[in-house]
């Protein structure tokens, strides 16, 4: 008897259920939607390194699903990545490449390079032909200097001095195009990134809430979570939701006693078993 061993799948998508899903859709089943991060993400190169910025709103269609999410993902101690597109895709792909970089660091004993992260990301995304909807702004500083790249869902990449992605990218790009120059200082860089993200927050409906900033220089990374909070809750009751007695006017009072209507007879026959 020949033993047939089922080899485990080598990774990637399994397309076995596609025909069944298609049939169900034809019968009228609506597939669940996915959460997008209608977003503004930016990055720029300044004289000592790179500054990345992102807003913090995650949307599910017209609803804000998460008003303070983290869109700047850790790749390596010296490399961070902002993600726009489908939230699950950006999380998964950045996590995966981050782990691969860690293993690579153990194998080589060296600091990770930005091009390594870039190549891993673009080859993964190209293999999935755009179905992994992750648009990323990758920035970091390694032994060869500061680098800033954008990665598109189909796998193409750009190397730029300043970059924006997401639904708010045009609003942010208008700020960058009019105000960016080479050789910015750290403060100017952070200021410009915050301004670009604010342009996205206030002019794009898919972006909102707060500004996250990440500054990467040689040997040091600062993750400024919620660097700016331009959308505070303005009307908050100081007393909270406690209602003291007497706040509601009592119009009339009627007390009804609970009467016992069932009488239990003492004695009687024992229950049938």
């Amino acid at each position: 008897m020949t033993g047939s061993m089922d080899l485990p799948a080598k990774g990637g998508f399994s397309f076995e259920l596609c025909r069944r899903n298609d049939m169900l859709e034809k019968k009228g089943l609506k597939l669940p939607g996915f959460r997008k991060t209608g977003t503004t993400i930016v990055g720029l190169v300044f004289q000592d390194g790179v500054v990345l910025g992102a807003d913090t709103r995650a949307t599910e269609g017209p609803i804000v699903a998460d008003k303070n999410c983290e869109k700047i993902h850790f790749m390596a101690p010296n490399i961070y990545c902002c993600g726009a597109g489908t939230a699950a895709d950006t999380e998964a792909v950045t996590d995966m490449v981050s782990s691969q970089l860690q293993l690579h660091r153990y194998a080589t004993g060296r600091e990770s390079r930005v091009v390594t992260a870039l190549t891993l990301l673009k080859s993964h995304l190209f293999r999935y032909q755009g179905h992994v909807s992750a648009a990323l702004v990758l920035g970091g500083v390694d032994c060869t200097g500061p680098h800033l790249h954008t990665v598109y869902p189909h796998g193409s990449t750009d190397t730029l001095p300043f970059a924006t992605m997401g639904s708010g990218s045009l609003a942010a790009m208008s700020v960058f195009e009019s105000k960016y120059k080479e050789g910015l200082t750290r403060e100017e860089g952070i200021q410009l990134v915050a301004e670009a993200i604010c342009a996205g927050i206030f002019n794009d409906l898919g972006s909102g809430s707060n500004v996250d900033v990440c500054v990467i220089t040689k040997g040091k990374t600062e993750y400024l979570r919620n660097h700016q909070l331009p959308n505070p809750r303005t009307y908050v009751s100081s007393k909270g939701y406690s209602f003291t007695k007497g706040q509601t006017e009592v119009l009339s009072t009627k007390i009804t006693q609970l009467k016992q209507t069932a009488e239990v007879a003492e004695g009687g026959d024992a229950m049938e078993e």
Binding site: V45, D158, L160, M173, S178
Partner: protein, 246 residues
């Protein structure tokens, strides 16, 4: 930008009239803003035929009567038709000879009615119009700036942008416009927006016209081009650090 087919076909017995429209020769964004002496309006002088840059010296801003300027983006032939309607309007207004002339608010109102009624007949004029002007009113010289688009949406604002300008110029205008700008400040702000549009809108060209309207009348300046900067060090050999990157 919407270029989906606006359908409406009536089968009247044997003849079928189709009002389906797509824009053919189109102009891109128009930007306008109020400043101290009146209203300033600017746009580029290009008209595209699909993805070809067909006409490079097209005036998309015209004076209307004594008090207004009209700028249009979208289908150029529809803009020419609108100018003919406005000609008829201003002519019959002139023939009243009553010492009063149509101001920007009146013309904006007229255009809104025209655009909305055409849309209701499924035969729109495929334009986004910007109407700006100054006219003496009960409170002195009143500046007016408004816009109407092909479906009849209309509003009045201190700064207007159509087409791609909505995404690229409005954020800048919202952040940097303020009351009573001088002409020089207004031109600088407008040029800032036009430059961003030149960099990032594929259908814009580097030949712009600025027009202004004040109580003295309208002035449309001759076209000129802006200086662009391409000297970023990252633009030289971007693939040197990352092979296969652009």
């Amino acid at each position: 930008m919407g270029s989906h087919a606006e359908g409406g076909s009536q089968a009247a017995g044997g003849g079928q009239t189709q009002r389906t429209q797509y824009p053919y020769v189109t102009g891109t964004s128009v930007i306008a803003l109020k400043y101290k002496d009146g209203v300033i309006m600017a746009c580029d002088t290009g008209a595209s035929y699909g993805s070809t840059l067909r006409y490079k010296s097209v005036e998309r801003i015209k004076a209307v009567g004594k008090h207004s300027l009209i700028g249009a983006s979208g289908e150029f032939s529809d803009f020419q038709e609108i100018l003919r309607y406005l000609d008829e309007l201003t002519l019959s207004d002139h023939m009243w000879d009553d010492g009063n002339s149509l101001g920007p608010k009146e013309i904006h109102s007229y255009l809104t009615r025209v655009m909305y009624n055409r849309r209701n007949k499924f035969d729109p004029l495929w334009n986004s119009l910007v109407l700006g002007g100054v006219k003496k009113g009960p409170k002195g010289d009143e500046k007016y700036l408004g816009m109407v688009n092909m479906i009849g949406t209309h509003f009045e604002e201190n700064h207007i942008a159509t087409g791609f300008g909505n995404h690229l110029a409005i954020p800048i205008l919202r952040a940097e416009w303020h009351e009573d700008m001088t002409f020089e400040e207004a031109v600088k702000l407008v040029e800032k927006c036009l430059l961003v549009l030149l960099y990032r809108d594929r259908s814009s060209i580097n030949k712009f016209q600025i027009a202004k309207i004040t109580t003295e009348g309208s002035t449309i300046y001759p076209p000129y081009s802006l200086k662009t900067y391409w000297g970023f060090s990252h633009f030289e050999n971007p693939a040197q650090g990352a092979v296969g990157s652009w």
